[in-house]
Amino acid sequence: MSRLLPHPLLSLALAAMWGLLNAPVTPATALLAGLVGWLVPFVMRLLRPGAVRVRAPGVILRLAGTVLVDVVRSNIDVARVILGLNAGTRRTGFVSIPLDLRNPTGLAVLSIIVTGTPGTLWVQYDSGTGRLLLHVLDLTDGDAWVRRIKDRYERPLMEIFS
Amino acid sequence: MSAATLLAWGLGLAQGMLVLAMALAAWRALRGPRAQDRVLGLDTVYLNGMLAIMVHGLRTGSGLAFEAALVVALLGFAATLALAKFLMQGEVIQ
């Protein structure tokens, strides 16, 4: 498994990408997709990536659903803020969040989730203290944001990359 | 015929909205006030330009727009990354 197929997930993703690009899949393109998926990951050996182990596929699906719902909801929230539909005053500012997640891949995924959701921006992470600085567009309650990040994203990510 | 008319008008309107978005982002890129604002505006011009190309491909029914959109997305990513990196090291105090 590891000698012949160093990165099975990457191989699968590359083969799927090749198939999608050459849309009606014929035997010839399927063969090429298999070759690309098998050979290109060997290049990754030069980069010496750390071993990434992913578990709990059910948690992955649930996290993906949560993120999808949150992205749509915060898109609408930010659109309302921009168009000035929210009554009252809006505060914007920075929130500091103590993180327990230490896995580098987990942190990378968390940064993509947080920044990909409109209204929150990952500003700085201090790996020494494990504190994350976040900029929030609509900051009504700082503690609510801390709880939201920790409960909705950090806990599932710690289960996935444990 | 009716479907073609609907597509031509509806997608034309969508394309117009995206071009307007490009113009607004270009205004921010030209206006500043600071270098990071200009880079952010330029990135948004790239993004909306890519979306406009995709809608154009829908309107003309041509699959070629996909390749163009992919190239624009790649160039936008590389350009913004290079500019952001330059902002960190290219000036002010080291």
């Binding site: 990408m17 999608l20 849309a23 009606p24 992205v71 898109n75 930010v78 659109a79 921009i82 168009l83 914007t92 940064s111 993509i112 990909g116 409109p118 209204g119 921006l121 990952w122 500003v123 700085q124 201090d126 600085l133 900029h135 | 479907a3 609907l6 597509l7 031509a8 509806g10 997608l11 969508a14 394309q15 909205m17 307007l20 978005a21 490009m22 607004l24 982002a25 270098a35 990071q36 604002d37 952010l40 990135d43 948004t44 993004l47 909306n48 979306l51 809608v55 491909g57 829908l58 309107r59 041509s62 699959g63 996909f66 959109a69 990513f77 990354l81 952001a84 990196k85 902002l87 960190m88």
Partner: protein, 113 residues
């Protein structure tokens, strides 16, 4: 290869999806003009890069799938690519702005985490 060979319901759905997506993208660009500080403005383009992009990609997948009579999923690649790259550019831009503001002692600069 013109848009004429799809049924009316597909055309309606494609137009609604594309218009909503373009609308979100336009609102993002308006935010880029209207919001006051850089750290507020960084949030605006994400609108077009997430929901706006997803809706237009969905419109494209639907249109070409119906027009060609098979599932055409290659536009998903643009979606995946943008989803992965947009946070990278925004984080790096945010870092650059933070660095510059702190180096100049700007009162708007982010506090330490």
């Amino acid at each position: 290869m013109t848009g004429a060979d799809v049924p009316v319901w597909t055309a309606c759905l494609v137009v609604v999806l594309a218009l909503t997506g373009a609308g979100f993208s336009l609102v993002g660009a308006i935010g880029l003009v209207r919001l006051r500080t850089f750290y507020e403005r960084v949030h605006a383009p994400t609108l077009g890069a997430t929901l706006g992009m997803a809706l237009i990609v969905a419109a494209s997948i639907l249109f070409f799938s119906v027009a060609e009579g098979r599932l055409v999923l290659r536009d998903l690649l643009i979606g995946v690519f943008l989803t992965v790259t947009t946070p990278v550019t925004l984080i790096l831009l945010g870092r650059a702005a933070t660095y510059r503001d702190r180096a100049e002692g700007n009162p708007d600069a982010p506090p330490d985490p």
